[in-house]
Structure formats: C-alpha cells, structure tokens
Amino acid sequence: MSARALPFAVALAAMAMVPLFSTSPFYVNLTSQVTIAAIGALGLNVLVGHAGLNSLGFAVFPGLAAYLVAWLSTVGGIDPVFAALVALGGTLAVAALFALVALRTTGLGFVMITMALCQIVWGAAYRWTSVTGGDNGLSGVPRPGGAWLPLEKPEYFLWLCLAVLALALVQLGRFFDSPLGVALRGTRDQPRRMGAVGYDVWRIRFVAWMLAAAWGAAAGLLYAWYHQFVSPHMMAVTASAEVLLMVVAGGAGTLAGPLIGAALVVLLKNLASIWIDRWVMLLGFTFVVIVLLMPDGIVPGFNRLTASLKRLRPGPAPKLVPRERADG
C-alpha cells in the first residue's frame, strides 16, 4: 500500500469500526450519511476541481438515479439490484444528453446551464405527480440483499457504503494520476493550448462529465436505499449547493478534500438541526464565511501550513495565470 493511500485506509477503517463502538444506530447512520455525501462530492470534484467546470446542478445525477431505482423497484416491481443497474444506465444516458447542452459552454455559462438543467428535472419530479408522486415523493424503496447480506441492518448498510467509497477513491485516484487525468487538468488551465497541441478538449471534458455523473448516480442509489424514500428536495438548488460546499470547503482538486467537506457539512447539518431549524440560513452564512476566509478550502490550507512549517518560510508565490481568464 502506498504512503498516499494510508491515511484514506485508516479513515475508512475507523468509519467501518463505528458500529463496534456505538450501540445506538444514530452514529452508524450518521457515518453512512457522511459516506454517501462523500461519494457524491468526489464525483462533483472531478468537474469543479479537475475540469474547472463549476456545476451548480450536480444534484440532478443522484436525483435521477434515486428516482429511477425507487420507481423501478416499487411501481415497476423489479429486483433492487437489477433496478439499480437500469437506474445507473438511465442516469448515464440522460447525462450524455445533458452533456451535449452543458458542455457547449464554460465559466459562468456552465454554472447557469447546469443549474437550469437541474431545475427542469426538479420541476418534472415536483409537478409530474402521476409518475413521481409530486411533493410526497416515492416511499417504501426496498434495499437489496437477503439472508446472506442483511442490508436492513444499519451496520451492514454502512459497510456497503464504505465499500463503494473505497472503490470511488481507488478509481478516481488512479484516474487523476493517469495521462487522461493530467490532460483534463490541462484543459482546465489552458483549454486553447490543449486544443492547439491536438487534444480533443470537448471529449476530455465529456469523460469527466460522465465520470462525475456515474459517481453521483452511485451516491443517489445509496441515498435512495438509505432513506428508502425519494423526494424532489434532493434535487433542489440547496441540495446542489450543499455538494458544491463540500467540495469547496474541503478543497477542490484534492482527493481528501471532498471527504472532509462531506463530513463537515453533514455533521454541521445534523448538529444544527438539534439546536436551530434554520439550516438554510446557516448554509448561506457558511458559504459567505468560507469564501471570504478560506477560499481554497481546508485541505490546501492545511497543506500550505505544513509545507511552510517544514521550510520555515511563507507559502508559495501566487499563481501567474489566473484560471478564470483561460477561456475556451
């Protein structure tokens, strides 16, 4: 095991051992929530951190997958595992269609179009009552498994989520190190030059988009099974914004950042709900504070701190090329 993987392995092992130390299912379920959120945030990080495409409609992928699996396994009466596979395929098919629209722009245009796309699917979920149940959503979504794998039990479900998270970390870690991952960051920093030296910028971005959609869909399937219920709220603007906050707060472009951001946002949301019911306002203030005080996120800030402690001198010089100026 490489030195880089060690902290992740320790963190995942610690999360897997939560059921051994806690008798109450509350902490086990909280850990499951963090894990599911982390999988989604890792997906969005491909776009925000590595492709430089700031999506404000990421919740559409988990939302589509969750609605598909919920509809197929309740109304459709299909086996949950098979329904999950169909939902994954369906979400990727819709994502490919959306890519044709969204990837025609970058920068602020991309922000607005992804937000609009997510709102449209939200609108369908909310208004198309005969199919989606409208505001009431779809309930009674069955979890897969059986006697040999009792996923009805919180600890077994947590271990399933952690297994998916481990898979996501391994796959994305390898992807970011691969030539394609390097090329993706090239299209983020210098799209024109990448095009000029012969890379197909659109196709590289398309791969990133589909990868993000796939992990978003995985998070959506786990979400539907965890709550055994889906509603339009999981595709609301606040839901997309929460995932974006996880990525930005933790540190976009890092592998550990989305995990730490997911833990932070989920814990904050759960703790806040004990004392006050103004989560939306707290979310808003968190955004403002993060942007003004910690624009790079926790992980890069921490890395800068340790690096400067090692060298006993201030942090690195500012970047010469501002990312926002690079247009496609």
């Binding site: 700031n54 920068g107 245009g109 607005m112 609009a116 449209i120 005969s130 306002m281 942007v291």
Partner: protein, 286 residues
C-alpha cells in the same frame, strides 16, 4: 379564441416581469462578469417589503418605490463590501451570491412566515376590462405597459445617454474605459444598484399576479437564468426577446401540459444552444 387571447395577455404580463428580473441580471453580468444568483431572492425581498409597506398603510406606488430603493441600496452594499473583494474570481462569486440568496430567503421566511400572501393591486387598477370577448384584469394590462416602459427607459439610458455610453465602453473593455477616465468603480456600484432595484421593483409589481410566498425566489431565478441563457448574457435586447419567449412557453405550457411545463422550457434552450452557444444576442461567455 378567447382562451388564446387571454392566455397571450397572461404570457405578456409574465414576460414583462421576467424582463424586469432578467434585464438587471444581464446588465450586471455584462458589465461585471458576475452572475448574481441572489437576484431571485432580491426579487422576493422586494415583494415582501412592498407587502409590508402596503400593510403599514402606505399606498401601492409609495410601497413599490420604497421597496425598489431599499433593495437597490442593499445591492449596492453587497457590491461594495463583499463582491468587490472577489473581482475576477468566478467560483467564489457564485458561492457568495448563492450564500446571500439563502440568507435573504431564510430571513424572509423567518420574518413573514410560510403562508402565501396576496399583495393587493392599487385600487385604480383593480377590476377588469373587456377586450372583444375576453375579460382581462386591468392590473395585468398595467404590468405589460409598465414593463415595456422599463424596457424603453433602459434602452434610452444605455443607448442615448452619457452614462449609457460609459456602461457600453466598460462592457467592451474595462481597462480601456478606465484609461480614458471612466470611473469603473462608481459605474459598477451604480449598475449593481440599478439592477437589484429593478429586481425589487419587479417583485412588488409582480406581487399581485404571482402572490408572495417563500419559494418565489426559487421559482423565478431559474426562469431568469433561462431568459439570459436564451437571449445572451449582457444583452438588453436578448433579455427582452428571451423574457417574452419564456413567458409564452411557460404560460401556455402550464395551461396545456401542466405536468411537464417545466420540461418544455428546456426545448428553446436546446434549440438556441445548438445553433448559438452564446445565446441569441450574446457574446461568447468566458
């Protein structure tokens, strides 16, 4: 026939409101390259402030004017104290305006509660007029006229005045505009105030039609974004055409296919983006 006439007038009224919302958004976007995602929340705040003023005994017109001024001032404060620190950085600006949108929306919910409230139209505009066979509320005709007047006023401001010439210069090239003596700093704040004041005014004017309720911002902002995507960011003409296109599609969609009215909005967006990614009247978004 009556159905088509009266629904067309409804669509024109909604399009007019969308223009008030989207034109400010688009002006700010064109000049400062900021997508102000708090615009929908400011629209809603304007509606609530107008309602509060009417309930406090002010007339409708005084309420509309004071709500517009208050929202415009708030916009100016946001620009001066917060947005200015993040000039040129897309993601932090998006997060900041989104965070402000959540704060404003939740503050409205805290102040005025979750029940939808109706903002009464001014007495001189209540009642209905007959157009042929169709009976049409007088207030909606006023909204159509008022939004057209706002459009004309904005066009005159941007195309025919000295301040408008400075705005156009700064939209084209801020550095060059600064070099020849345009105070871009003042201009940015002024345009931000104007754009947000228009959103606040739109909220009050729209109050009697849309009524005032907590998720009004989340209903209006996506429509405004669609208008801007369709018409092209930074273009007044684009906002005008886009607002009425979306107004018509949304109004008729809601009546003819209520389940999928939102999905139908998607179609013009695909059509336009496949031909012109920058929108009908826009330049390329960086």
């Amino acid at each position: 026939m009556t159905f088509w006439v009266s629904q067309s007038l409804n669509a024109l009224a909604l399009g007019g409101l969308l223009f008030m919302l989207a034109s400010g958004f688009s002006l700010i976007f064109g000049l400062m390259r900021v997508a102000n995602l708090a615009h929908g929340a400011l629209f809603m705040l304007g509606a609530y402030l107008g309602l509060a003023a009417v309930k406090a005994g002010f007339g409708f017109w005084a309420a509309a004017a004071s709500a517009a001024v208050a929202v415009g001032l708030l916009g100016g404060i946001i620009e001066r104290t917060l947005l200015r620190r993040l000039a040129g950085r897309t993601l932090p600006q998006v997060l900041l305006t989104l965070g402000l949108a959540f704060i404003i929306a939740d503050a409205c919910l805290m102040m005025w509660g979750g029940d939808p409230m109706r903002l009464p139209p001014p007495p001189e505009l209540s009642g209905a007029v007959r157009i042929g066979d169709a009976v049409f509320p007088r207030y909606r005709l006023f909204v159509i006229g008022a939004s057209a007047a706002v459009a004309l006023g904005l066009w005159l401001l941007v195309e025919r005045t000295r301040a408008g010439a400075m705005i156009r210069a700064a939209v084209d090239d801020v550095g060059m505009a600064r070099a020849i003596g345009v105070s871009a700093s003042t201009l940015f704040t002024a345009v931000f105030c104007l754009g947000t004041a228009l959103a606040g005014l739109g909220g009050v004017i729209g109050g009697p039609i849309l009524s005032v309720y907590p998720s009004l911002d989340q209903d209006m902002l996506p429509l405004a974004l669609l208008v801007v995507i369709l018409g092209g960011a930074g273009s007044l003409a684009g906002a005008f055409v886009g607002a009425y296109v979306i107004g018509f599609i949304y109004t008729f969609g809601q009546v003819l296919v209520p389940d999928l009215a939102y999905v139908i909005l998607f179609l013009p967006m695909i059509a336009v983006l496949s031909v012109a990614p920058q929108g009908l009247f826009g330049r390329r978004l960086g």
